[in-house]
């Protein structure tokens, strides 16, 4: 294990560690553009120059491997001078159009100019080399003038997606990036290009001009798009979700996120969100207070007794599933979650990068909690036979299944917890408004059996409540209230009874999730 000294502090690192990584572990940020933790080292931007004792010239921190006894100074006079001159060089032809640039606020050029530059430009705006602006590359908008030619996007295209759609064109200070004949970026991982670009050269079409980034508040969460469970930041302002941003987790998604996942933020602010409970009366739908709705369901469940069925949803968090299971146990009815057999596809890859075929975030959690108890077929048969008196759905999946249509029609009372208005809700007798993943605390268990935290970013619209609050409300009316009142307490309860989860709590899950031993479950 080589030992070295960085800025006067001694540190021992793994063999082969580069200076920039070792410094980052110590909390020292060495300015850089082209280095990226999940891409190969290129060393072209020359921004990360540091002074290494006994070396005649400054070295680039991203490609200098630490050797035993190395003494590195990242902020010595020589290094600082190098940072300043490199930055001045990179900014030579940069158009100062920060006021209209979406990157402003999270731009490496801006940040490092404030830290290391603060010089007056020696080049007049009129003398700068003009390049192409607002080039439409499909989901990405290219502005070649703002580019610092760090080649991050090229390396991303080569190493991660393998599509090589971007290239350097021309020479000298006329060099610019572009795609062949301006063809649009066609793969499902284009959004990462905007994230990987340290400046405003590649920007997202979807987020374009929507919001200045300094207004946004990030909440750590997990993408609910599939069983991969990519770590994300939910960027929101005033209770409105504005975008997803990948959160680096080397064991799950590295620094990446797929475009279908990114687009999910739209669902939360949708105008089709349900905001109040309603019940079907003789004259049609009627609004009902949530507490009254709980009482009605409890009454129906008491009447139904063992002739009730409960269908959980793999979109729910572990805590919500636990509360729902407690509801099923309270009446002794049938319980399952498997609509469309998602559990067989949890580990089936959709592509070689991130996505999985199972589009639910928590199928593994359903399996771990033993939600697949009775079998959907048994429930549907009981429905069709007319023996079921009440059916409680945690999500509207079963209403969407065409094969279940006739069977459901025979159940006298169907209550569904739903997030969005849809015509299929007509098949239920009662609709309860449920909160979505951005509005609830909890955990998802991904395909690797890694328990990961999701956090509430803002309140649910109207009277919508989290699914565990809905289940707890009905349980209270049944006279069997849950001891736990929050997601945190529910998880502690859950951990006591679920194998492998023992001893876990929300804090123990941590920001990167907690992997559990993987076993091939049914």
């Amino acid at each position: 294990m080589p030992k070295c000294t960085i800025d006067g502090r001694e540190v021992e690192v793994a063999p082969g560690t580069t200076v920039i990584k070792a410094a980052l572990q110590m909390g020292i940020h060495i300015p850089h553009f082209c280095w990226h933790p999940d891409l190969s080292v290129d060393g072209n931007c020359r921004m990360c120059l540091v002074e290494v004792e006994k070396m005649p010239k400054l070295q680039i921190a991203c490609n200098t491997v630490i050797t035993d006894g190395m003494v590195v100074r990242t902020e010595s006079e020589k290094a600082a001078e190098a940072h300043r001159t490199t930055l001045e060089f990179l900014l030579l032809n940069h158009p100062i159009d920060c006021p209209v640039c979406d990157q402003a606020g999270e731009c490496y050029l801006q940040d490092q100019y404030m830290d290391h530059g603060l010089h007056d430009s020696k080049v007049e705006i009129e003398e700068k080399v003009k390049k192409r602006k607002v080039v439409d590359l499909g989901p990405i908008v290219l502005d070649a003038e703002r580019c610092v030619l760090c080649s991050r996007c090229l390396r991303y295209e080569k190493e991660v997606t393998g599509t090589n759609s971007l290239e350097f064109q021309n020479r000298g200070d006329h060099t610019q990036i572009g795609s062949f004949q301006n063809r649009p970026i066609a793969h499902a991982y284009a959004g990462n290009l905007a994230d990987v670009c340290p400046v405003g050269a590649l920007l997202s079409r979807d987020f374009r001009f929507k919001m200045r980034v300094w207004f946004l508040e990030p909440t750590e969460s997990v993408c609910p798009g599939c069983s991969t469970g990519c770590n994300v930041y939910l960027d929101h302002r005033d209770g409105e979700l504005q975008r997803f941003r990948p959160r680096r987790n080397p064991d799950v998604n590295k620094s990446w996120l797929c475009d279908p996942g990114r687009s999910l933020y739209n669902e939360v602010g949708s105008s089709a969100r349900l905001t109040g409970a309603r019940i079907k009366a003789a004259s049609g739908w009627e609004g009902i207070a949530t507490d009254e709705a709980f009482a009605v369901i409890a009454e129906k469940l008491r009447y139904a007794g063992k002739d009730a069925a409960f269908l959980a949803t793999p979109l729910a968090t572990n805590e919500e599933l636990y509360a729902f299971r407690a509801l099923a146990d309270a009446t002794g009815g049938l319980l399952d979650f498997r609509v469309g057999d998602p559990q067989k596809r949890v580990r089936e890859k959709l592509d070689e990068i991130l996505q999985h075929t199972d589009r639910n975030p928590n199928t593994q959690g359903c399996l771990d909690l033993g939600m697949g108890r009775s079998g959907v077929d048994t429930i549907l048969k009981a429905c069709a036979a007319g023996s079921l008196k009440a059916l409680v759905l945690q999500g509207p999946e079963l209403l969407r299944a065409p094969e279940a249509r006739d069977a459901i029609a025979k159940v006298p009372f169907v209550a569904v917890m739903a997030t969005h208005e849809e015509p299929l809700l007509e098949r239920a007798q009662m609709v309860l408004p449920a909160a979505m993943w951005a509005e609830t605390d909890g955990t998802f268990t991904n395909f690797q059996r890694r328990v990961q935290r999701i956090r509430r970013a803002f309140a649910a619209p109207g009277l919508a409540r989290t699914r565990f609050e809905l289940a707890a409300g009905i349980l209270k009316q049944l006279g069997k209230p849950l001891a736990a009142t929050s997601a945190r307490e529910l998880f502690v309860e859950l951990a006591k009874t679920t194998p492998d989860y023992a001893g876990l709590d929300h804090r123990g899950v941590g920001p990167m999730g907690k992997p559990l031993p993987l076993q091939e479950s049914a």
Binding site: E75, A80, R84, C98, H119, D120, R212, F215
Partner: protein, 197 residues
């Protein structure tokens, strides 16, 4: 503790003389106003005070030559605004050198504190202030003034604009003098990073 009533002898004799003195004073000013026209007040709606050229009245959104707003929707004003009274939505312009402009620009004049920070923050001189200070409305909604109303400000033509830093920046010579003093007396050149000094 029980309250204690105290009688204070102010040693003032009641007399009608001070009242007469007061009335004489009133009479003096009345006659002055009547015959010499030396009133301190003005006949407000008809007559207006001469307002400073740097007065911070209701905002103006300036226009380009083609009549479109100069604003590029950079949100600097909305960011700096201490009253959070500016709401902007942005859209795309066909000119690639400008790219962006405001499709909505609203100021809640009831929340505005007329500090003029928005004018200082604007990189395009797209928002300036007028000398207009008589603001009337019958509802709150009416006092939220939108982009088109901010651009079409009829009274500005007769009054001239108000606060507008680049036009008459009285602070500039002061600032230059301060910078000179920093350099000569302390050897500090602003704009250089800490460790390079």
């Amino acid at each position: 503790m029980a309250a204690r009533i105290v009688t204070v002898n102010r040693n003032v004799k009641q007399s009608f003389v001070p009242i007469l003195i007061g009335m004489l004073s009133t009479l003096k000013y009345m006659l002055r106003t009547l015959f010499k026209r030396e009133a301190a007040t003005i006949q407000f709606p008809e007559e207006k005070r001469n307002i400073s050229k740097r007065y911070r009245g209701i905002h103006i959104l300036t226009a380009r030559e083609d009549g479109t707003p100069k604003c590029v929707a950079c949100y600097m004003c909305a960011t700096v605004c201490p009253a959070e009274c500016i709401y902007i939505e942005s859209g795309e312009r066909p000119e690639k050198q400008i790219e962006k402009y405001c499709t909505r620009f609203e100021i809640d004049l009831l929340r505005c504190v007329y500090c003029g920070f928005c004018v200082d923050a604007c990189p395009e001189e797209a928002i300036i202030m007028s000398r207009e200070n008589d603001l009337v409305g019958t509802s709150r909604a009416e006092m939220i003034i939108d982009r088109d109303r901010l651009m079409a400000r009829g009274k500005v033509a007769e009054q001239g604009p108000g606060y507008r830093p680049s036009e008459h920046d009285v602070r500039r010579p002061v600032r230059i003098a301060a910078l000179e003093r920093l350099k000569t007396e302390h050897g500090i050149v602003p704009g250089m990073p800490e460790r390079a000094r």
